[in-house]
Every structure is written in C-alpha cells, then in structure tokens.
C-alpha cells in the first residue's frame, strides 16, 4: 500500500527535468530542415490596407517566401472561429466579424497579422519583415470600452454600433421591484482593468508538413491540443483531423492565454506545406503583449438592494465588456455565462439581473484569463457587499454572515442558473478571521496612524463555478463543444502503469497528482505510474485544461477507468484463485478471496492478462481501460480572503502587510501543489489590484504598456508571504469529492485588496491602485486626521 496517494504532499515527479534544464518546451524543439517565420504586424490600430509590396523582402538572401492575405484568400484558408454562440436579449445571434489568418482588407489592432516572412534563419526573416511595405488608409481608433458603442468608426464595417451582443440574465422585473422596496441601495461604478496574461514562456509553434504521409504535425504552446486539432481541421481546413497531430510538450504557463487557436500557429502549418519545410515561430515578448488574448476589461454599474434587517434583496449590474477587435476562441462566453451566473456570490439574493453589452474595439482580442468572468463577478459582488457594510456601519464579516447560503440550504438554486451543491461559508470565514487576527486590527490601525500611515482591511468571500462543465448544460447555453474529459490506464506486463489523460499540465503538476490518484485507487506506487499528456497521437481525445477542471473532470475520468481495471481484474482473480467473482475483494493493490488467505496482487493480475496461459475463456487479454467522464454539475470552490494593507499617504505606496486565504476545494489530493496554486493565483489577483494595467491610448489606439518596462508585473519584493488554510466539504457531484483550485486566488484577491485599500484611504478608487493613483486620490480628498 502506498503512503504517497491522495492527501500526501508528494514532491513533484516533473521537477527534476525542469530544475536541471532538461525540460522540453516548444522553442527547445528543432526539426530537420527547419525554416523560421516572422510576422509583419500592423503598426496602426485601424485602417484599410491600400497595398502590400513584398518585393524587397522577397529579395533578401535566405528568404523562402513572403505570404499575405491575398495568399490566404487564394488558398481558401478558413478563418479563426469563436466556439460559443451568444444570443442577444432580443433573440438575435451575436454578430461575429470575420477573423482571417492574415488581414484581408483592414487591420483592426496594433499587432494584427498582415504578412508572414519565412526564411532560412530568424535573423533573415526579421530583416525581410522590416522591408515589407504596407500602405494604409488610417481610420479612427476605437480604444475606449465604454465609448465603443457610440464611436463614429466601425471596427467591422457591417457592425455599425460595434456591438457583438446585448445579453441579459435574470428576472429584470422582479429585480427592479425589489430595488423599489429596498431600505438601502449601494451603488458602485467599477472598472475591471484590462490585463495581459504573461505566461513567462512566450507562445511558439512549429508547423511540420510531411509530404510522404500527407500529414501535418504542429508543436505548439497549447493547453488543449485536441481542441487545437479540431478547430484547425474543421474550421480553418488545414487538413482532415486524422492527418493532423498536435503536440503540446512542456508548456511554460498558460493562464488561459494558450487555450486559444491563434493566427500564428495556423500560419506556420499552412506555410510549412507551401515551402515544404518545417516552419518555426517563437514570439518575442513584445508580440505577446500585442497579440496574446488579453483578459478582463469591464466597465460596470452595480447596485445592491438591502432590507432594513440587513438582508440582501436584489442585485443588478450593467456591464460593458470589451471583446477586442475579433472574437477569440471562447471570448463570447467569458463576460456572459462565466460572469453573470456568479453574481449571487455566497449569498441568498432573491432577485438578480445582469445586462452585458459585448463590444468590439481596435484592441487585441480579449478572452479567458485565469478566472475568466468569475473574478469580474466576484469583484462586483464583494466590492458591493463591503461598501454596503460601510454605508450601513455594520461589520463586513457580520453582513456577510447574515446573508450566506447555509449548509442546510443545499442544493441551493440561485436566480442565475447555478445550483450550489455543497459548502460551509461560515467555516471558511471563521478560519480566515482567526488567521488574520481580525480582533487585533483596530489596535494595528491605531498603531499605524500613530506612525502617519493608513491601515485598511478588506474581505473577499468568493465563490466560483469551475470543473467545467456538464456538456448538455453548456450546450444549451450556446457552447459549440462538450466539456467532458477522457483518461486511459494501461498496465504493462510487468505491472507498471502508463496513464493517458486528455487534460494538459502546464505547471499544475498533473504528472504527480494523477499518479497519486491512480496509486490510491489501484494500490501501486506513484513512482510506477507515468502520466502522458499533450499529444493527440498518444492520448484519447480530450478537452484540455482550463476552468480548474483537470482533477474534477479529468481525474474523475481516470477514476472511472480505474474502476474498469478493477472490474476486469476481479474476473481474472476469480479465475486464477478458483473463486466466485462475487467473493473477490480489492483493496490496497490486492485481490483477495473472502474468508480465505488467498490473494493476488494487481501486478500478478496484469502479468496474467498479458501472458494469458491460464485465463477466463470469455475475457479479452490485456489490462487497459479508457473512460470518458461528463460532469453532472459545475463545482463550487469557495472561501474567504482577508487582505490588510498599509498606505503611506506621502507616497501613495500600498504595502500588503498580511494576506490570508482560506479555501474549500473539497478533497485535496496534494496539499503542497494546491497551496502553490493558491499562492500563484493570489499574486495575479494582487497584480491586477495594485499594478497591472493594459493601457491603449484612446486617440491613437497604440498599446502604451507593451513591455515589462511599462506593464507592471508583480515582483518578489511587491508581495508578502501568504497565510493559507483549508476547509473541506467533499463535493457530492464527482467520484473524487474534489472541486478545483487553480483560479481561486486570482478570482478572490482583487476585491480583497481593493476593499482594504479603499478602507485605508477612505474613498473609492479604481484598479490598479498604483502609488500615483492613491497619492492623487489622497491629495484631492485628504482624509480627516485620526
């Protein structure tokens, strides 16, 4: 029996290769005969392409080809797609502007793809790209989210009001009626600032066409290689699906940005066949800033109606969501179905109504970034609740407690789609209050004031819906795909195990966690389990990793496969031990016969299955099982974060002096890995709240924050060590009892930080609360001296 199974903080199996420089990332791969691609990108936000002259570029020594939008059109290459149909409240389908692989008539954001140079060396391709002469008739930029619908210029000519959809969720009449009768209404105007994901590995791709087999291989930085293959085959038309292999090797972080099917990897595949050579592209960080899908970018008016007894009556929100210049792969669902269904938070709110206008602008496409819609929802709910507590002069913990959904309420149907299945929100809150020493805050605030500093404390009692998702449910909401997962377990004749999963690990540690899972279920050592992922030629079709789904959905598929292994093993064991199948028990890797001392290890059973000299006549040889698992519900991780800050009024600098997170992720397989996920999520949430901000100049549409010099990433010296804790309510909706932990930190933290900052400075301020903004706010409206 292993002691390194579920619940053990097992050190990661993948670490040795990463720590010794033996990882295998896409840019580390080089194919024989490889050529290099460099993109010519639009230097302007919006304009008609008058001419593209490639002659000088093509004449550069070493250049193999220069491809333009005209070549895309001539080859009949399909455009990039958005896989989720949203309908406006009037019933009309969303308006999706065409998204060509290389620009046809217009460019629509700075960084839009105009041409592709392929050359013998990257240096030659880069030199040649400089010589592609593109003539533009410039059009006005549309860079302001709130102003996009009324802008004079149309990003897509056929969509005059720059509006993709006007969507709504919830009962507007009931919500308005509740507001009319409320004792108190809290109103906030909130900007959820635009972010750039910034996985430290830039995106990269190698397209490799093999004429001998008439098939393609794509090596790329993907969170979901099968989804890449499906879209590239079915919609872009690169090749039939069985003639396209997608390999996502070691991937250096994703955070959503590597879910999507982009122009670059598509063009590398296409160019590879045209030049008859493998074609490699690796993004500069500057290109990542310009052309990776960005995140967030909401402008919202939010209101909370409260009764005289302090109970929530209704919530309404009107959000304008920036979708960028084109619809990215899943962009349409992020500010709709991944956002508004979370507006109930952890609370009983009888009526909720959300209206969302999705708008086009001349900026990079916006799509899912860690949390994807749920951070935006949490920011709305938890900022409203905190400000309401201040206005009502109530303790913010007490106001939350009074309105929490209670353990006896499950299953709890919210007014906005979701059915919460389990949780204990007060348990997380109480543990967080204890870890944060909330009782001692008043004294710490007084001490800070005596030193001329402003202390503030802020809560964020978040809930998220993850483990996405039941296929029928998301299908009914417009998803073009099912969101099940696959897994297979293959015993070798010598009793070791190879596991294939349709999930993909790009930092999450699946090779360890999934090995622990199999170890626990089949009674083998994790060291004897190899987890294979990220290659469409090896793994069964899988939907990939995002939405904190790998363990809840992919892990559940593996549990189902393990059950099948045990069921077959039981038949083999009954035959070998001459017992009735019903009398065979399986535990800790051993099949035993009830009431006897007879036993066979699972390794002995595996050997018998591959050397079936003495084997049940009606059974196939071998010991290998595959399972597909479609979840029955979303999962609902929830918890409380408490942030304490100290503000220096002379400089505006915000220092996080304490940060507590208590999460309920259900059953935890590897607590070390789970804590690491929480830490990283918090850092991204703190980054959004205090420093990160993607800024487009509203006049020119230029990306002002186009490098690490201007886009302020959180660094080691910006952050404290975090205090994290867990509470556990096992999830009744999947066989593992798990919920998912990948996004919680990023979902909850912005509200916790901003509640603390606004508490400290005594006024509202929008994210990011940079030193400059805080200083200006205090200079304009100084607090009364305490």
């Amino acid at each position: 029996m292993t002691t390194d199974g579920i619940g053990a903080p097992l050190r990661r199996k993948e670490d040795y290769r990463f720590l010794t420089g033996r990882g295998n990332y896409t840019d580390d791969i080089n194919r024989p005969g490889q050529a290099y691609a460099v993109f010519v990108r639009s230097p302007i936000a919006h304009g008609r392409i008058r001419s593209v002259d490639t002659a000088d570029a093509a004449a550069v020594p070493g250049v193999l080809t220069v491809l333009t939008g005209a070549d895309v059109a001539a080859d009949g290459l399909g455009g990039l797609i958005c896989g989720w149909m949203i309908h406006s409240k009037d019933g009309s389908a969303m308006k999706a502007g065409a998204h060509p692989v290389l620009a046809q008539d217009k460019v629509r954001y700075v960084g839009d793809h105009v041409a592709l140079v392929v050359a013998e060396t990257q240096a030659a391709a880069r030199d040649a790209a400089e010589l592609v002469a593109v003539g533009y008739d410039e059009l006005p930029a549309v860079a302001d989210t709130a102003g996009a619908r009324g802008a004079s210029s149309a990003v897509h000519d056929e969509i005059a009001d720059n509006t993709c959809y006007q969507w709504e969720l919830g009962d507007q009449a009931a919500t308005d009626a509740a507001f009319a009768g409320a004792a108190h209404v809290t109103t906030l105007d909130l900007v959820n600032n635009r972010l750039i994901p910034n996985a430290i590995e830039p995106r990269a791709a190698i397209g490799d066409y093999d004429r001998g087999s008439d098939s393609f291989t794509l090596y790329t930085t993907s969170q979901n290689p099968h989804v890449h293959r499906l879209v590239l085959s079915a919609f872009v038309g690169i090749a039939p699906e069985h003639k396209l292999r997608v390999v996502a090797p070691d991937v250096g972080g994703g955070f959503g940005s590597k879910i999507f099917i982009y122009a670059e990897e598509t063009a590398c595949l296409w160019a590879s066949k045209r030049v008859g050579r493998p074609v490699k592209w690796t993004a500069d960080r500057s290109e990542s800033f310009l052309a990776d899908a960005h995140g967030r970018d909401h402008v919202t008016r939010a209101e909370l109606a409260i009764g005289a007894d302090g109970r929530f009556l209704a919530l309404r929100a009107h959000t304008t969501a920036n979708l960028g210049a084109y619809l990215s792969t899943f962009s349409s669902c992020v500010p709709t179905y991944l956002y508004a269904p979370l507006l109930s938070g952890q609370y009983k709110i009888p009526a909720i109504h959300a209206a969302v206008d999705g708008v086009y602008t001349t900026t990079a496409p916006v799509d899912a970034y860690r949390g994807a819609g749920r951070p935006e929802a949490t920011y709305v709910v938890e900022r409203l609740v905190e400000v309401a507590a201040r206005e009502l002069k109530m303790d913010p913990a007490e106001l939350r407690r009074r309105n929490f959904v209670q353990p006896a309420d499950y299953p709890y149907q919210t007014p906005v789609i979701m059915t919460y299945d389990c949780g204990d929100y007060e348990a997380s809150l109480d543990k967080a209050l204890d870890l944060a020493d909330y009782a001692g805050f008043a004294a710490r605030r007084a001490d800070a004031a005596a030193r001329g500093k402003r202390r503030g404390i802020g809560f964020s009692a978040y809930i998220e819906a993850c483990g996405i998702a039941p296929s029928a449910a998301v299908g009914s909401l417009g998803a073009g795909v099912g969101l099940w997962e696959s897994g297979s377990i293959r015993f070798t004749p010598t009793g070791t195990v190879v596991v294939h999963t349709g999930s993909h690990s790009h930092g999450q540690g699946h090779e360890t966690t999934f090995a622990q899972l199999i170890a626990s279920h089949l009674g083998v050592e994790p060291g004897n389990v190899e987890v294979v992922h990220g290659d469409t030629a090896q793994t069964p079709f899988g939907m990939g990793t995002y939405g904190s789904r790998s363990l809840a959905v992919g892990g559940s598929a593996l549990v189902k496969a393990a059950d099948k292994i045990v069921a077959k093993g039981r038949k083999i064991a009954a035959h070998l031990m001459e017992a009735a199948e019903a009398d065979i028990a399986f535990a800790d890797g051993k099949f035993t016969v009830a009431g006897t001392d007879k036993e066979k290890s699972i390794q002995e059973i595996a050997f018998a299955a591959y050397v079936p000299h003495n084997f049940p006549g009606d059974l196939e040889p071998g010991l290998e099982e595959t399972a597909f698992y479609d979840p029955v519900n979303f999962t609902f991780p929830a918890g409380t974060q408490i942030c304490e800050v100290e503000v220096d009024p002379d400089t505006g600098v915000v220092e996080i002096v304490n940060f507590v997170a208590v999460d309920d992720f259900g059953v935890v397989v590897n607590p070390m890995i789970v804590e690491g996920q929480v830490h990283g999520g918090i850092a991204q949430g703190v980054g959004q709240a205090l420093c990160e901000n993607a800024v487009y100049d509203t006049g020119s549409g230029q990306l002002v924050t186009g490098s690490y010099m201007d886009y302020r990433m959180p660094r080691a010296d910006d952050l404290p060590s975090f205090k994290v804790g867990l509470t556990v309510t096992p999830n009744p909706s999947n066989p593992l009892g798990v919920k998912g932990c990948g996004e919680a930190g990023a979902i909850a933290a912005p509200a916790a930080v901003m509640n603390a900052v606004t508490d400290a400075i005594g006024q509202e301020i929008q994210m990011p609360a940079t030193a400059e903004r805080v200083w200006r706010a205090l200079a304009a409206a100084p607090m009364a001296a305490e």
Binding site: N198, T282, S707
Partner: protein, 162 residues
C-alpha cells in the same frame, strides 16, 4: 562576417563562429544546444536567461557572445553534480515546490545561487529584493523565497554542501 568566440561552458572548452550580433543566450541555446536557459522577454526584465559568467549571475540576453569570449560560463545544465545529484538550491526548490511550469526556474535558480554566494545568510526581505529581476508568473514567489532561505541554510553547512 563572423567572429570566433571561445569560452568554457559547464567545464568544457567550446569555440564557435557567430555573427557579431549573436547574444550569449543564443550562442548557448542555438549553437551549443543548451536549451535549459530560456528567453522570456526582450527587455532584460524577466531573468529567465540568467547564467553565471565567471561566477556571477548575468542575464545572458543582455550580453553579446563576443563579450563572453575567454570567460567561464555555467548554465543550469552545469549546476548539478556529474552523477546527477542536485545542487542544494535545486534540491530546495524541489523540496519547497518552488517551481510550477518550470520556465522561469533555471534563471531563478542561477540567480539565487549567486545571491547566496554574495550573502550566505539572507533575510526574507533580502531574498525578495535580490529576486526583483526574475519574474515568475506561477508561484507568487512564496515557495521560491522559502526554497532560497532553505538552500542558504543548507549551503552554510560545509558538510551538507559537499
């Protein structure tokens, strides 16, 4: 036009003809096949490319290969013992879950080794300040800081560092 550059990399003498504009990181990755050193940005900010040049940490994207002519360079591939035993800094990163996706890790480890060389007993604040030039998007730095502090403790004990 090419230049001939010669140096010692991970204890081995190497010599290559390169374009004058070749950066040290490109010499390592493309000419020598040492892909453990990563490129994460183009403005010398992220630190994924940190190696040791004559024992000191250097962002290898910020140095021309020609500038390293005659130097002794150590990359992440050269840090562990010849038998594969991890350096105490690598071991501490593993033990404290100081890495997730692994992409910033080589630069982070090489930078941290130089910190402990110059400051054998750093405080948490000193570790955080030193690592300001290495960006990690996965860990929130929490476990990296723990790892560096643990490695510094280990490396202060001469017997354990052997």
């Amino acid at each position: 036009m090419t230049l001939t550059v010669s140096m010692t990399v991970n204890g081995k003498a190497v010599s290559r003809d390169v374009e004058p504009r070749t950066l040290l990181v490109h010499l390592l990755r493309e000419h020598l096949g040492l892909t453990g050193t990563h490129v994460g940005c183009d403005t010398s900010q992220c630190g994924a490319c940190v190696v040791h040049v004559d024992g000191r940490s250097v962002k290898s994207c910020t140095m021309l290969a020609a500038q390293a002519d005659g130097a002794s360079v150590t990359t992440i591939e050269g840090l562990a013992a010849a038998d594969g035993t991890l350096h105490p800094m690598q071991e501490a990163f593993r033990n404290n879950h100081g890495l997730q996706c692994g992409f910033c890790t080589p630069g982070m480890v090489m930078s941290a080794v130089d910190l402990v060389r110059t400051n054998p007993d750093p405080s948490e604040h000193e570790v955080r300040t030193w690592l300001e030039g290495n960006i990690c998007r996965c860990t929130g730095y929490h476990n990296i800081v723990k790892a560096v502090l643990e490695a510094a403790r280990t490396m202060r004990q001469p017997a354990a560092a052997e």
